[in-house]
Amino acid sequence: MISLKLGFFLALRQVKHSNKATTALIIFVMTLTFLNLVVVRGVLVGLIEGVVKVQKEAYIGDIFVSTPIKKDYIENSPQIISVIESLPWVASYTARYTKGGKIEGTYKDRVNYTEKANEANATIAGINPENENATSHLSSKIIKGQYLTKDDTEYVVLGAYLLKEYFPVESAAFSTMSGVDIGSKVRVTVGGNTKEFTVKGIVKTKVDEVDMRVFMLDTTLRNLIGRTDYNVNEISIIAKPGTDPLFIKNALIKNGAEATAKVQTFEEGMPKFVTDMKNTFAILGNVVGSIGLVVASITIFIVIFVNAITRRKFIGILKGIGISSKAIEIAYVFQSLFYAILGIGIGLLILYGFLVPFIEAHPIKFPFSDGILMAEVGATFLRVFLLALATLIAGYVPARIVVKKNTLDSILGR
């Protein structure tokens, strides 16, 4: 206890009288190291978390009921929907009709029929605009024009990836349309029928499954494809806040939904590559962070070692007059912890006071997601602990090396 108190006393005086610029520089290095440890991983994971978030919000929901692989649609959809409507945990749901089709733009201006048509393959989705918006907030993702209303039988909303302007990629297997904008006439061919629509809006969510769709009213699509039985292809369900989506899944299974449909939670319904990428990026972030941790440890080691070696004589004197080695070592450990605590403290302020809210308000625009900064409190404090521990060791080891030297040799500088 005495050694601890005296160590703290010595550390305090040493820090107080140290060179201010050097101290500031060391603290700055610690701050950068902390941010490197948390932010690099946070951005990498946040990049994928952005994908996950938007997949959930704009497409899958909390529970995703979809068509079994060997079927064309969910049989007995009306019964399943009535079960969903009866469940107390459901906040909203949207039932979508989908079918592969084709969309052609600027066909009225086409003069040379030897050239390829200005067309794109797309999934044609029939939706109830109100239910869809309550579930996936699709109207908020409209980047041009307007969202559909229940009376828009002659209008479509196009996914941005169907247009060259937003997705300038073209190959033999994949084509986009050019020259199509709000108000343009487009021809949609689905289920052997073709109908002309006017483009009302363009939607961009950065979810391929959504952005490569042509949205129209469910009634319109049903008529086009002759689906009179009201069997849909997918249903996204949002659970009420605080409700475990598993309640909904279990209730649906209990009511026999799995006999005709695939019922998945968001995690189950999310594409596997997204989960794999998330894990890979987390590992990558941890590797980059670990390198930062090693660099910080080396920095502290050098700082403390240089400090201790230049004060070797005084360390010898202190030992000579009876100050315990432990107290001197503790002084250096406190000193390194001082750098770590201040560096981490400033880092935490920057992280939660600026970076997280700033990136939340201005997400990093990646091509496939709006990246957020993932800085969960638990994970952050684990890194705080790791950095403090590394600093403590990096402070203790050089102090121990110098303090262990023969007292008289230290005093005499030999």
Binding site: L6, R13, H17, I323, S324
Partner: protein, 232 residues
């Protein structure tokens, strides 16, 4: 009454294959309240002797008994604790901790002894006032002159009422006027019964002590009143 008894003390250093014997089978004793100087030419083993007596180094053989305790048999922690509680040191180059003020430097052995801060600071202040540094309590070493620093060093050595003060060439780095002040401080302390053992190569200061030994060739060449042996 003897405060130090040295029996058959031997200290040698290895330089390559050769063994250099610095102290060879030396025996002597020092009375309590003595002001004892160790003199001799450069390389005669004066400082080596002081380091053995002051428990800063370990002899090859022989015994050192301080106030009834055979300190040569103490382990590392025991020696550290003995130095802390029973001995005081004054070094040639003052050896103050640069980050600590005068009072903090003087209080540090007391804090290590576990005294409450207020008590430690009070004792440190008393020690500083005793050697005329009461006005410079809160100055850092770099704000003090050489003589002042050495007096702070003496205050640190006496603050915890040690049985013996060891002084290694305490006047070597000082001008004659300042050195006189430091010696006056030692004489004053000794007049109140403080045992002091001082290494010096300066005859004018050795002569102020009560007893001196002159070392040479690993042996005690002379032992007695300083004025008798100093010019031998």
């Amino acid at each position: 009454m003897e405060i130090i008894e040295v029996k058959n003390l031997k200290k040698s250093f290895k330089t390559g294959d050769k063994e250099l014997v610095v102290l060879n089978d030396i025996s002597f004793s020092i009375e309590k309240g003595d002001f004892f100087s160790i003199t001799g030419r450069s390389g005669s083993g004066k400082s080596t002797m002081l380091y053995q007596l002051g428990l800063l180094d370990h002899p090859n053989s022989g015994d050192i008994i301080i106030d009834g305790v055979n300190v040569t048999s103490l382990d590392h922690d025991g020696r550290t604790d003995f130095r802390l509680r029973e001995l005081g040191y004054v070094f040639q180059d003052y050896a103050l901790v640069p980050d600590l003020s005068a009072i903090e430097n003087a209080a540090i052995p007391l804090l290590m002894q576990g005294l409450p801060k207020t008590e430690a600071y009070q004792k440190a202040e008393n020690a500083l006032q005793k050697i005329g540094m009461g006005e410079r309590l809160h100055n850092l070493p770099n704000q003090l002159s050489g003589g002042e620093q050495q007096r702070v060093s003496i205050a640190r050595a006496i603050a915890h009422d040690p049985k013996i003060i060891f002084a290694d060439e305490p006047t070597a780095n000082l001008d004659s006027e300042t050195a006189d002040t430091v010696m006056k401080a030692f004489l004053e302390l000794n007049s109140h019964g403080q045992t002091i053992i001082m290494v010096t190569h300066e005859p004018e200061y050795a002569i102020l002590t009560k007893r001196a030994i002159k070392l040479g060739d690993g042996k005690i060449l002379a032992d007695g009143a300083p004025d008798k042996i100093i010019h031998l």
